[in-house]
Symmetry: C2
């Protein structure tokens, strides 16, 4: 099976490679063509997942496909953008048709969930690696950036944290998908597109938590030139996490574990109560203040020292 | 040096990471933001270059950076699109600052040549690999596609072919850049943006030749549902190529060697003479006819049998 047959069989003819009002040309030409709506901006993000760095090479290809797309679409959620399309750059050591079938099925399922279409890509030979670039649309000038947090804003997250980190040892042991409900948080994170969209015009800063709560909140603090205080006592522990771990380990997973792809955002206090009514998974976990950096404090306001700050590649 | 310091030092603060009227947010947030001009479409293409598959891992990082961007921007030229921006997904085995400096300098020089800005990306640890996704703008509905070639159109190329293929053995031997002028064709291909733009509203089909003239013309034939005839006697041999190779080898390099990133296009006969006046590098190399597939014929119209068809990954 050659490169072109492979693309035709597993990607071009896939149910997730469809044209729509924003995609006028898909897979098969030199470029795909995206047709923007009037008064919109195109949000763009790229993520690479390398075998045995970001996922176990021997993992189920269905899950790898699903997760690769989810973590990238999550960046659209973090900007409040509506997904349009994505390109897939897939590097494969060889043509393994069973693997490709599973991978494209997982990719396609997640694409369907996120209403995003496969527009193009590149298939090359080499060590297994997946680079996905996503495109979404956001009303002109309204995108959720990291640099607008204001002192006295509330610091919130879109849902439970730490579940994916809690699953990591099971992932590395290659446990089957149904071994634990925590594995779903790792292998099939749900991009918070609905909440991201609801935050447009309300949140002053927003990002998705991929490297860990503390590390990622540090990016908001730096970009917005403010300090963020995380109140440990306000962090609501996921029942899935507390069923497996002691309190201390739960807190560690919540604070420094990445991979949940929930949103962290800052919002003026007067806009919060309306928001939480329609999106009850949202938790207030702290506040913004003058200064710089991140601190995590206990019930009495005493800083907690963390053993690690979050994931870094090098 | 961590991931964020690396991005800051070699990419975010690079001279090629600038905002312009079409880029409202660049490196450093969850997404970059592209602001389309009214009545335009966004052309998008992704290319991956894997070490020791697409370039020698021990090659000069400056040349690798330059070439990686050039081959991807070439896809914009093939659609007649004006470059806007690109994302860079860079996978590195380790942080080698000297390598990164050279790579970003090469990338930046080519970005400057092509008037394209670095908008975002991802830096990960793993086997050396580069995935670039480019964005360009083209007037709504005017992009040069592969599917419009009509019987009796002329088949043309934008310039000399085969030079990069002629350099390949020197590339694999890791010869220095100044060893032969042919090496420039391989390491620093020039995306044919000017000719691509000039073809808008004129060419009926167009693509860039990356896998070889015959293989790539095959894509036009298939997409347009026509046959293409390449007249070998009309192929003009590059003086750089004929200085090194015998006629027979020159022809082989021209017909099946990839990597030149010249454009192949079809155009109605009555539009050709005006075009070649302003773009004298353009060569007529054949014509379109009813039927399917590609044939290469000699002066007498007798088909020439080729020993290989072009580059395929698997």
């Amino acid at each position: 099976m050659g490169e072109f047959e492979l693309i035709q069989a597993y990607f071009k003819s896939s149910a997730c490679a469809y044209l729509n009002k924003n995609i006028s040309l898909g897979i098969g030409d030199d470029c795909a063509l995206l047709r923007p709506s009037p008064q919109s901006e195109i949000a763009i993000s790229t993520d690479t997942l390398v075998a045995d760095v970001h996922f176990p090479a021997k993992g189920d290809a269905f899950l790898i496909g699903q997760r690769a797309l989810a973590v990238t679409v999550s960046d659209l959620a973090a900007m409040g953008a509506n997904p349009i399309g994505f390109t897939l750059a897939l590097t494969l050591p060889c043509v393994d048709q069973a693997w490709l079938k599973r991978f494209s099925e997982g990719l396609c399922l997640k694409a369907h969930e996120c209403s995003i279409s496969l527009m193009g890509g590149d298939t090359t030979k080499g060590p297994l690696s997946i680079t996905i670039t996503v495109f979404g649309e956001v009303p002109l000038g309204k995108a959720l950036r990291r640099d607008g947090a204001q002192p006295d804003d509330l610091l919130c997250v879109s849902g439970y944290l730490g579940e994916a980190a809690g699953a990591l040892s099971m992932v590395l042991d290659n446990k089957p998908y149904d071994f634990s409900a925590l594995l779903k948080s790792y292998w099939s994170p749900i991009p918070q597109l609905v909440i991201g969209h609801a935050l447009l015009g309300k949140a002053t800063a927003c990002l998705d938590i991929s490297d860990g709560l503390v590390a990622d909140c540090g990016h908001i603090a730096k970009s917005s030139n403010v300090a963020l205080v995380i109140e440990a006592s306000k962090l609501v522990i996921s029942p899935l996490l507390s069923a497996v771990y002691e309190d201390e380990q739960c807190l560690q997973n919540i604070l420094v574990g990445g991979d949940d792809y929930q949103l962290a955002f800052t919002i003026p206090r007067d806009l919060f109560s309306e928001l939480v009514k329609t999106h009850p998974s949202i938790q207030v976990i702290g506040y913004v203040t003058k200064g710089s950096g991140i601190s995590v404090v206990d019930k009495k306001g005493v800083p907690i020292v963390l053993s690690q700050q979050g994931y870094q590649h090098f």
